[in-house]
């Protein structure tokens, strides 16, 4: 397969425009070619970042090896978890947790804003954490000062957690206004983030823990500030949350 043909197919694959047979053939090529994978990842990240930047719901991301146009839920989608849940629950446990969440928030009822907050933090982390930062500093005070200039009324925020190194911060699209994500790195180079968004109309919500196969998130609201800490499950990112879950 020529480079030009693969370049074409990479776009069609990412945008869900390949037939099943072509998709299978492309995935074989994808498994062998790291440069092709880099391009596919780049195009996917662009699509997701555009969805976030311009306010649309991100398209469910499809893992390599899955049919790209089946519109299945993201296999790593965050699910509400309880503190008692084991660190690596079996698939059945996640299904039970999801069922509990549906019971608490029945269809047609008001959605838990912390769920959307955790999803936005997850999407921002997956799409934007590797992009250049707007402010690069490992100094918590400098980052806090930079944030204070962009999120009016921001109080004192602890920007440290055991095992995480502060890298800086970047502005990200929020639900109503601009939000900010403080970006950290763990010992193995994986990124974690703390999403912060001012929302004076938001009531206080206690922190709630969400888990997917690879990520953990803690989201809540306090004093007109929505927050969501998100990162790899083993990174200790949950400790970034402004308030620990009850």
């Amino acid at each position: 397969m020529s480079d030009a043909r693969r370049a074409l197919d990479a776009h069609a694959y990412v945008d869900g425009c390949l037939s099943a047979a072509d998709r299978d053939a492309f995935e074989v090529a994808l498994a062998r070619d790291f440069r092709l994978r880099a391009r596919v990842d780049a195009w996917r990240s662009q699509n997701e970042a555009m969805q976030i930047a311009f306010g649309a719901a991100p398209r469910p991301r499809v893992a390599v090896g899955r049919p790209s146009n089946e519109n299945k839920p993201h296999p790593l989608a965050l699910r509400r978890a309880t503190r008692a849940a084991p660190s690596r629950p079996p698939a059945g446990a996640l299904a039970i947790v999801a069922l509990l969440a549906l019971t608490v928030w029945p269809s047609g009822g008001p959605a838990d804003p912390r769920a959307a907050l955790a999803e936005r933090a997850e999407a921002a982390l997956r799409s934007l954490a590797r992009a250049p930062l707007d402010f690069v500093s490992g100094d918590p005070q400098a980052v806090a000062a930079w944030l204070a200039g962009r999120l009016p009324g921001l109080g004192e925020i602890p920007l440290h957690a055991s095992g995480l190194t502060l890298l800086g911060a970047r502005l990200v699209p929020g639900r109503a206004e601009t939000a900010a994500m403080v970006v950290f790195e763990d010992a193995v180079g994986e990124r974690a983030g703390l999403l912060l968004e001012r929302d004076d109309a938001s009531p206080d919500w206690p922190s709630l823990v969400w888990r997917s196969a690879d990520l953990i998130a803690v989201s809540g609201a306090s004093g007109g500030l929505d927050y969501a800490a998100v990162g790899p499950r083993a990174s200790g990112a949950a400790a970034l949350a402004l308030h620990p879950p009850r």
Partner: protein, 168 residues
Amino acid sequence: MPIASVRTDDANDLRRFGLALVRDERLVTDDQAAARLVDKLIRQCGVAPVVEGPRRGGRVAVYSRFVELYRRHVRRMTLDEETAWSESVARSSAIACGVRALPLELRETLLLVGLARFTHAEAAQALDVPLPRLLERLERGRCRLAQHMGVDLGAPGWGGAPHLRVIK
């Protein structure tokens, strides 16, 4: 009398696409101005949003009409050679800045596919270009956006010069 009706969620998608398309670094560098222009163009499209009802097959036609109206608007405008500065642009996300810095033909292609989720064939139809040209624009747009974002596309030969050529 509207020429087409779209469901409310589709109308919201069109407005979102419009806001992303018309914001650039030369003509419309302000959110409010962008919103006014998009509302005006949507009115000119003759689109009437409906809350319920089946999706009409005219989604491509409505986007195509919107793009054409915006192209006309751009042609009418006297372009200022000096790049406009805007606080809102400076505060936008890197991806939004990158999209706004793209030429219109690349921006509309990328937004139709990446934001409005058109298939390649639908996007080609909406923009009234052949499919190979749409793919060539998609390739160029994505590569330029990746460069803007500082994304490494791998070894030379992949991320550098575009691989696709339009053969007339």
